[in-house]
Amino acid sequence: MKLFGLRLTSTALVGIFIILACVGGAVFAPWIAPHDPNLPLGGRWGPPSAEHWLGLDQIGRDMLSRILYGGRISIGLALLATVLAFVVGIVTGFAAAVFGGWVDIAFSRIADVVLSIPILMSALIIISGFGTTTTVLVLTIGFLYSVLVFRVARAVAMNIAVLDYVEVARLRGEGLMWVILREILPNALPPLAAEFGLRFCFAFLFIAALSFLGLGVQPPDADWGSMVKESALAIPAGIAAPLYPAAAIALLTIGVNLVVDWLLSIYSRPQGENA
C-alpha cells in the first residue's frame, strides 16, 4: 500500500489507523458519544455494561462519552502548543542559522539556560507565578518546546544554508526572505515533520501529566490527564476506571510514535530505496 508515493509498512498503517480513530473520536464526539458527558446517569463507578461500555465515573457519568469529549481538549491543547512551539522555534532557528553572529549566540545561550533545568520544573515554576489557566498552560508549553524546536531547526538550516543552490540563490541577488522561504524551508520540511510528530507526543504527555498533578486543565473542563486524577480513588477499590483515559493517552502516543518511526526510517534511507 502506498501513501503519497511512499511505501507504507504494516506498523505505520497501524499508527495511522490509531491516530485517525483518536482524532475522529474527538472531532465527532457530539455525534457519536452515547451519552451527555456531564450528566450523572447512575451510581458511583458503575461497572461496564451494554449501556455504558466503559462504566461510570466517580459521580456516575458515562466514561466513554467523557473520554470522547476529553479527547477534544487533550488533543486540541497539545496541537495548539506544538504549533506555537514550531512557529517560534523555526523562525528563531532559521534566523540564527542564516544571520549567524550575535543573533545566533544570543538565541543559543537563551536555549542553553532554559534547557539547563528539566522542562517539568520550568513549567511548574512558571505556573506557580502565572496561575493555572489554559492560556498560561499552552503558552508555557509552547515556549518551553520552542527552545527544543529552535535547536533542531537551527541545526537543519545550518546544514542546508551551506549547500550550493542556496549559495547560487544568494549570488543571484535574492532577498533574505526568498532564501529562507523558497530555498531552505522546503528542504527542511521532511526532518521537521518527524520532529513535529515527536514534539506533539511529548506536549501531549506533558499536558496530561500536568493535568494529572492538578495544575493543567481545571474543572469543569476535563482532559484525559485530569480524568485520571479525578477517578484515581477507584484504584484502591479494585476498579479500573482511571485506566481507561490513561490507556487512551498511551494509545495515541504509541500511534504517533509508530508513524514518526516510519517517517524517520524513510528519510534516513538514501533516495530511491523507498519506491
Binding site: I117, M121, T132, L213, L215, V228, L243, T253, N257
Partner: protein, 315 residues
C-alpha cells in the same frame, strides 16, 4: 585536562546563577502584584498588606533576590506562606525521601538496562531484539501514572503483594523501607529503562561497525567476547551520558510517581506549593532541583572527559 574541567565547573556555576535569577524573576517579579494573585478571592486590603510585609515586597526586587540567594546558600529559604514553618525544615525530610527513591530506582535500573542493551546488541535482529524494541517503544509511550496504576491494581489490590501507598516511617528498618517503596521504584525503573537500553544498544552497535571490531572478528574471537572486551569500553562515554541524563530524569520523574503513590517526597511538596502558590517553597524546591540536575549533567561531562583519552590529553 584541568583547564577543561575548570571551564566546565565555571560554566555550570554560571548557569546555576542565571537559573536562580530566572526562578526568582518568574515567581516573584514578572507576574506583577503577586500578593493579590496569591490570595485570589480572599484579597482584602489587610491580607494583601500582610503578604506584602511577609515577602518584603515593598523593597526593590534586586535587593530581595540577593538576600534570598545569600540565605539559600546558608540553607535559609525563608518561611512557608502556608504553614509559617521555616522552608528548610519542611524540605529536609522530603528531599531525603526523594533521593532515597531515586537512588533505589537507579541501583536497579542502571545495571539491568546496560545488561539488556548489550544483550540486544549481541543478538541483533533476533526475536529477543525485536521483542525488546516493541517493549521499549510501548514503555516510552505510556505515561508514568498509567504504569503506576496498573502495577497498583494488579500487584497491590488484586494480589496484595505490595502496599499501594508508599508510607515512610522513621522507625521502619531498611528492609521495610525497600519493601514499602517497591512499587514506586518499579514504576520509575520501567519508565527509564527503555531509554537507557535503547541508547546502550545503539552505541554498542555504532562501535561494532568500526574496523578494529572486524579485525577481532577475523581473528576468530567469540561474539560475546568482542562485545564485552572490545566494543563496550569504547561505547562507555555515550552510555555514561545517557545514564546521567536518566538519573536527572529520575529526580524529575518522581514528581508524577510520588503523586500516584502519595509518597511524601520533594516533588509532591513542590506540586502542592505550586497549587497553593506558596512562593518561598516553590523557589526553594526549584533551586534544589536545578542544583541536582545541573550537578548531574556536570558529573556526566566530567566522566565522559575522563573516560575518553582523546579528551583527557587535548593537544
Amino acid at each position: 585536562m584541568l583547564k577543561l574541567l575548570g571551564q566546565r565547573l565555571a560554566l555550570g556555576f554560571l548557569t546555576l546563577i542565571v537559573v536562580s535569577v530566572l526562578i526568582f524573576a518568574v515567581t516573584e517579579w514578572l507576574p506583577g502584584d503577586i500578593a493579590t494573585n496569591i490570595l485570589g478571592q480572599q484579597a482584602t486590603p489587610e491580607n494583601v498588606a500582610a503578604i506584602r510585609a511577609e515577602l518584603g515586597l515593598d523593597r526593590p526586587p534586586q535587593e530581595r533576590y540577593v538576600e534570598w540567594l545569600l540565605g539559600a546558600v546558608q540553607g535559609d529559604f525563608g518561611q512557608s506562606l502556608a504553614n509559617k514553618r521555616p522552608v528548610g525544615d519542611v524540605i529536609g525530610p522530603r528531599l531525603w525521601n526523594t533521593l532515597f527513591l531515586a537512588v533505589y530506582a537507579a541501583v536497579v535500573a542502571v545495571p539491568l538496562s546496560v545488561l539488556l542493551g548489550v544483550l540486544a546488541a549481541i543478538y541483533r535482529n533476533s526475536v529477543y531484539d525485536r521483542a525488546v524494541n516493541i517493549g521499549t517503544l510501548a514503555a516510552i509511550s505510556m505515561p508514568e501514572f498509567f504504569i503506576g496504576y496498573i502495577l497498583i491494581l494488579f500487584l497491590a489490590v488484586q494480589f496484595r503483594w505490595f502496599p499501594a501507598i508508599a508510607t515512610f516511617k522513621p522507625e521502619q528498618s531498611f528492609g521495610q523501607h525497600l519493601y514499602s517503596t517497591f512499587l514506586p521504584m518499579l514504576t520509575l525503573v520501567l519508565v527509564v529503562i527503555a531509554h537507557m537500553m535503547r541508547m546502550t544498544r545503539t552505541s554498542v552497535l555504532a562501535v561494532m561497525s568500526s574496523p578494529y571490531i572486524e579485525m577481532a572478528l577475523l581473528k576468530g574471537l567469540s561474539k560475546s567476547r568482542i562485545v564485552v572486551r572490545h566494543a563496550l569500553p569504547n561505547a562507555l562515554a555515550p552510555i555514561i551520558n545517557v545514564i546521567a541524563l536518566n538519573l536527572a530524569y529520575l529526580i524529575v520523574g518522581v514528581v508524577v510517581v510520588e503523586a500516584v503513590f502519595t509518597y511524601n517526597g520533594l516533588g509532591r511538596l513542590m506540586v502542592d506549593a505550586v497549587s497553593k502558590r506558596d512562593v518561598p517553597v516553590v523557589q526553594a524546591c526549584g533551586l534544589i532541583f536545578a542544583v541536582v540536575f545541573i550537578g548531574l549533567n556536570l558529573i556526566a561531562d566530567v566522566l565522559s572527559i575522563l573516560s575518553n583519552p582523546r579528551l583527557r590529553h587535548p593537544r
